[in-house]
Amino acid sequence: MISDLLSNLNWGHYNYWIIIVLMMVGLYAVIARGNLIKKIVGLNIFQTSVFMLYISLGKVDGGTAPILEEGLTRPFSNPLPHVLILTAIVVGIATTALALALVLRIKAVYGTIEEDELEEADNKTEAEEAQLAADILGADDNRGGAH
C-alpha cells in the first residue's frame, strides 16, 4: 500500500513538500510559542519559507539567472517571482523591525515578554476596571433605590 502511494506521488513536487514543512514549522512557532521574540523568529521562518515557494515556482530546469549576457544559450528563470519576493523581503524586515520595537516597549512597560504573563496582567487590569465600574454603578443604584 505504501509502495502504491509512493509510486503515485509526483516526485517533481519534492521541493514544495519540503517548503510546506518548513512553512509549518514557522507557523507552529508563531502560534504555539509564548515568548514574543520567539514568535517573531517563527514569523521570519514562515515568511522566508514562503519566499522559497515563490522562487522555486519560477525556476526553469537548466535555466540561469535572468541577467542578459552575450552568448548565453540557456533559458532564463522567471524574473517576476524574484521581483515580488524582493518586495516581500522588504515588507518582512519592516514588520520585524516594528515588532521588535513593540517588544522593547512591552518589556519596558510590563517588565516581561512572556505571553501568558502579559495576558495575566491585562486580565487583572480588566477585572479591576469591571469591578470598579460595577461598584460605582451599583452604589448609584442603591442610592437611587433609597429615594
Binding site: M23, L27, V30, L36, K39, L43, F46, Q47, V50, L53, Y54, L57, L80, P81, L84, T87, A88, V91, A94, T95, L98, A99, L102, V103, R105, I106, V109, Y110, L118, D122, T125, E129, A130, L132, A133, A134, I136, L137, D140
Partner: protein
C-alpha cells in the same frame, strides 16, 4: 465569467492603454511636446492622484517636522483625496470602468489602477472618514499624544490613509498586498500610540501585528499558488484565466488561503481576536478612523476576489457562501452582540458591535443574491458613517472625562449635551431606527432574506437589532439617567471635535432620508461585481 467591458469614461480618461501586451507605446512623445496644462494633467491622472496626493504629503510632513504644518498637510491630503474620490465616483456611476496603466505599460505587464462603482464606493468611504478624522485629530492628538510626536503621527496617519486607498484602487493582486502592508504597518504603530493612556495598547498592537502578518502571509501564499497556475497577477487577467482551471486542487487551496488571509484582516468571526483590544486602546482618532475604514477595505478586497477574480461560480462551487460566510457571519453577529452587552467600557462595546456589524456584511454576501450584495455594499458605507460618528463622539467624551468606562460616563448627557446627542444619533442608526442609514441597510438585508424566504434569518436579524438596542441603552442610561460624579464641570468638547462628529451624525440621517444616491451606487457596484453591466456576458 467575462470581465466587465471597459468603457472609456468619456474623453477624460485618455490614458486607457489599449495596446497589445509587450509593446510599449510612447503615445505622448509626439503630441504633447509642449507641457500640457495643469488641469489636463489632473484630469487625465485622477486614479493615480487619488493615492499619490496623500502618499506624497506623508514624507513631506516628516521632512518639514512642524506640528501646525503637519496638521494642515494632513487636512490637505485627505480633503483633496475626497474631492478626487467624488469626481471618480461621478465618472463610474453609470457602470463604466476606468483603467489606468501605470508607467504606460499595458496591464498584465505593468500595474493597473482600476476604478468601478464598487471601489469608488469604498474610496468615498475612506476619503470622507479620513477627512473627518484629519479635522478631528488636531485637538484629540494634542490631548492624547506628546507634542514632539505629532509630525510622525500625522505621517503615519496619512500613510495608513493612502495605504487603504491603494488597496482599494489597485487592479493588481500583488500591489494590493504592498499597500495592505503600508496601511497595516502604520496601523500597528498608530494603535500602539494609545499606550500613553493605557499600556494595554502595546499588547493589543503586538497581537494585531502577529495576526495581521500571518493573515497577510496567507494571502501571499494563496496568491503565489494562483500565480503558479495562471502566470499573471493582474486581477482582470486572473479573472480571464481562472475559469479554465476550475476544479484544480491548487486553485481551491489558493482560494482558501486568500479568503482566510483577508478574513483575518476584516475580523471575520473566529479570526477577530485582534479587533476588540486594538480598537479599545488605540487613540480616539485612530479608533474612529480604523473602525470606519480598515475593515471595510478588507471586506471590499474579499468581495473583489470572490466576485471579480475567482468569480461567483467558483465561490459557489467552493460552498463559500452557504457553508462559510453565512454561518460565520451569523455567529459573529450573535456572539459579538452578546459579548458587547456585558462590557463596561463603551469603546469596547462598540468594538464588539463592530464584530457583529461585519457579520451583517458577511451574511449579505452569504445570501448570494443581487439584493444581498447590494445590502453588503450599502452596509459598508452606512456602517462607516455610524461607527465613525459613534467612536468620534466617544473620543470627545474621553477628551473631557478622561475615560469611557461606564462609571466615568455617568451624567455625560448633562455634562456635554451636544456630544452625547451625537452619540445618541449614531446609536439610533446602529440599532436601525427608521430615518437613519442603519435602517436602510437592515431593510435591504431583510429584503434579501425575504427573497430567499429564509424567515429564520429575518427573526435572527430582528433579535440582534434588539440586542444592539440593549447594549446601546446601557450607555444611554448611564449618560442620561444617572447624576454626574461630583466635581466635574459642565462643558463641551472643542469645536474641532464636534464638527466632524456632527457631520457624520447628520450624514447618518441625510442618507437615511435620501437613500437613492447610496442605493444607486451600491446597486451599480453589485451589478458590476456580478457582471450584469455592459452586456459583457
Amino acid at each position: 465569467m467575462a470581465s466587465p467591458e471597459i468603457i472609456l469614461a468619456a474623453a477624460e480618461a485618455g490614458h486607457i492603454v489599449t495596446a497589445a501586451a509587450g509593446t510599449h507605446v510612447g503615445t505622448h512623445g509626439a503630441t504633447h511636446h509642449e507641457a500640457p496644462g495643469l488641469l489636463d494633467i489632473i484630469r487625465n491622472n485622477l486614479p493615480a492622484l487619488q493615492v499619490l496626493v496623500p502618499l506624497t504629503l506623508a514624507p513631506l510632513i516628516t521632512l518639514l517636522n512642524n506640528r501646525n504644518l503637519s496638521w494642515l498637510l494632513a487636512m490637505v491630503g485627505t480633503s483633496v483625496s475626497l474631492l478626487i474620490a467624488v469626481v471618480l465616483t461621478t465618472q463610474v456611476l453609470d457602470g463604466s470602468v476606468i483603467s489606468y496603466a501605470l508607467g504606460n505599460w499595458a496591464p498584465p505587464l505593468g500595474i493597473e489602477l482600476r476604478v468601478d462603482a464598487a471601489n469608488a464606493l469604498v474610496l468615498l468611504i475612506v476619503a470622507a472618514i479620513g477627512t473627518c478624522a484629519a479635522i478631528y485629530a488636531r485637538p484629540s492628538v494634542d490631548k492624547e499624544l506628546g507634542m514632539t510626536e505629532q509630525p510622525l503621527f500625522y505621517t503615519a496617519f496619512l500613510l495608513c490613509f493612502s495605504g487603504l486607498l491603494g488597496v482599494t484602487i489597485t487592479g493588481d493582486a500583488f500591489n494590493l498586498f504592498v499597500f495592505l502592508e503600508i496601511s497595516s504597518l502604520s496601523t500597528y504603530a498608530l494603535v500602539a500610540m494609545g499606550a500613553k493612556q493605557d499600556r494595554r495598547a502595546l499588547n493589543a498592537a503586538y497581537n494585531y501585528l502577529i495576526l495581521g502578518t500571518v493573515g497577510a502571509t496567507f494571502y501571499v501564499i494563496g496568491l503565489g499558488l494562483a500565480y503558479m497556475m495562471t502566470g499573471t497577477l493582474n486581477m482582470a487577467d486572473l479573472a480571464q484565466r481562472l475559469p479554465d482551471l476550475m476544479g484544480s486542487g491548487t486553485l481551491w487551496v489558493a482560494f482558501g488561503f486568500i479568503t482566510i488571509g483577508l478574513a483575518t484582516k476584516l475580523a471575520m468571526f473566529p479570526l477577530h481576536f485582534w479587533l476588540p483590544n486594538a480598537y479599545t486602546y488605540a487613540p480616539s482618532v485612530v479608533t474612529g478612523f480604523l473602525a470606519a475604514t480598515a475593515t471595510k477595505v478588507a471586506v471590499y478586497a474579499l468581495i473583489r476576489f470572490i466576485f471579480t477574480v475567482f468569480g461567483a461560480d467558483f465561490a459557489v462551487e467552493a460552498q463559500l457562501f452557504g457553508k462559510v460566510l453565512l454561518p460565520l457571519g451569523l455567529i459573529g453577529i450573535i456572539a459579538g452582540s452578546l459579548v458587547a452587552i456585558w462590557q463596561v467600557n463603551a469603546k469596547r462595546i462598540l468594538a464588539f458591535s463592530s464584530v457583529a456589524q461585519i457579520g451583517y456584511m458577511l451574511v449579505g454576501l452569504g445570501l448570494m443574491s443581487l439584493t444581498g450584495l447590494t445590502a453588503t455594499m450599502l452596509h459598508m458605507f452606512n456602517h462607516a458613517l455610524m461607527k465613525g460618528a459613534l467612536f468620534f463622539a466617544l473620543g470627545a467624551v474621553m477628551w473631557k472625562l478622561g475615560g469611557v468606562t461606564l462609571d466615568k460616563m455617568r451624567g455625560a448627557g448633562k455634562l456635554m449635551p451636544w456630544t452625547m446627542a451625537a452619540f445618541v444619533g449614531g446609536g439610533l442608526s446602529l440599532v436601525g431606527v427608521p430615518t437613519t442609514v442603519g435602517f436602510i441597510s437592515k431593510w435591504y438585508l431583510l429584503n434579501a432574506a425575504f427573497e430567499r424566504e429564509w424567515y429564520w434569518l429575518i427573526a435572527i436579524l430582528l433579535i440582534t437589532s434588539l440586542m444592539a438596542a440593549v447594549y446601546m441603552w446601557r450607555v444611554f442610561e448611564v449618560a442620561y439617567l444617572r447624576p454626574a460624579p461630583e466635581g466635574v464641570q459642565k462643558g463641551e468638547a472643542p469645536l474641532l471635535l464636534l464638527i466632524p462628529t456632527w457631520a457624520l451624525v447628520l450624514a447618518n440621517f441625510w442618507f437615511g432620508l435620501n437613500a437613492t444616491t447610496t442605493v444607486n451606487l451600491a446597486e451599480t457596484a453589485a451589478r458590476g461585481l456580478l457582471g450584469l453591466t455592459g452586456g459583457a456576458n
